[in-house]
């Protein structure tokens, strides 16, 4: 073993002996050894560290909640849109008159059918969300 390793081992053993000793020392003796000012100083450090750690944990939790909410909103919106598209296609398939009007509009080039469809799907998704909010309320 090199001299550096021997020195490091000595310090480690000394540190372990200190821990062992401090844990075994009776309450009254350890308080007397550290003194009331030392105890107060340690309490202040405990309080400050705990407060700082709490603030950091709270900030982290807020950040995670905001990220979760943002992810949920995006997911809900995407689900609304897909469900509205399904409903729209069902309406078109069971309502020949409506379907015919859509096709005529496209043929007359009054409006882009895709844009019409997207607008209707958006409106349907909004209506669905409003219905769900009413139900919840």
């Amino acid at each position: 073993m090199s001299e550096d390793n021997i020195n490091r081992a000595k310090l480690t053993r000394l540190a372990e002996a200190i821990i062992d000793d401090i844990i075994k020392t009776p309450d009254v003796d350890i308080i007397a050894e550290v003194g009331q000012s030392g105890v107060e100083q340690a309490r202040t450090i405990l309080f400050q560290v705990k407060a700082a750690a709490s603030r950091r944990l709270l900030a982290q939790a807020k950040h995670e909640l905001e990220a979760w909410r943002a992810a949920q909103t995006s997911r809900t919106h995407s689900l609304d849109h897909a469900a509205a598209r399904d409903r729209f296609e069902k309406v078109r398939s069971v309502d020949p008159a409506f379907n015919r009007k859509m096709m005529m509009a496209a043929r007359n080039e009054k409006e882009s059918t895709d844009r019409d469809k997207d607008g209707l799907i958006e409106d349907l998704a909004d209506l669905q969300r409003l219905d769900e909010q009413d139900t919840l309320e």
Binding site: L14, A17, D21, I22, I30, I31, V49, K50
Partner: protein, 198 residues
């Protein structure tokens, strides 16, 4: 004695680990005597690792409360925090992390930086560490000179002796050993005070 305060553990160990919320509870419920023990340990370790006692206690608590160090369920707060402070003394892991940096090799006058940093303490760090340890040990030896029992205690600890073996080596009973150990802590506290004196 089992010293707690591991920095790394596998996710499967999570159930056996003390959650951070429980560490907060332990800090809330700490007694006056255990508060004194933490300060006594910080003072004892301070000189061994060259960090001011208050800073040492603060850093150890921060690591525990941020979950950077964990311990097994059922571990008391004092051995847990002491274990963290002890890790500052042995510093092998810390040195490996902090000293991890690319080593510049000069070839034909041009510096060449390897893509992968060397996995070990930097040469500067290793040199500083070795010097510090020698200085600390020399100061402890010097401080104990003239106190034969204290010198024997230190030698015994260096040789890995504990409890009954130490008592036999020193020729004292439990109370006598406690008295000499108190002198050792006082010695460390005094050398620490000299080290950090303004």
């Amino acid at each position: 004695m089992q010293i707690e305060g591991d920095e790394t553990h596998s996710p499967s160990d999570d159930d056996a680990r003390l959650p951070v919320a429980d560490v907060f509870d332990l800090v809330d419920a700490i007694s006056e005597s255990d508060t004194a023990r933490l300060m006594a340990a910080a003072r004892g370790f301070s000189r061994l690792c060259g960090i001011d006692a208050d800073d040492l206690l603060q850093e150890a608590l921060t690591r525990a409360l941020e979950g950077r160090r964990t311990c097994g369920r059922g571990t008391a707060l004092v051995p847990f925090i002491c274990g963290i402070m002890k890790s500052f003394v042995s510093q092998e892991n810390e040195a490996r992390k902090e000293g991890l940096r690319p080593t510049v090799v000069v070839r034909n006058g041009e510096p060449i930086v390897p893509e992968v940093p060397s996995d070990g303490p930097s040469p500067e760090r290793a040199t500083i560490s070795a010097i510090d340890e020698r200085v600390v040990l020399a100061e402890i030896d010097a401080g104990a000179s003239g106190d034969e029992k204290l010198q024997l205690l230190i030698e015994g600890i260096y040789d890995g002796m504990r409890g009954a073996e130490l008592r036999e080596f020193l020729g004292v009973d439990e109370k006598g050993l406690a008295t000499i150990r108190t002198r050792l802590r006082r010695l460390l506290k005094d050398t620490c005070a000299n080290e950090f004196a303004p």
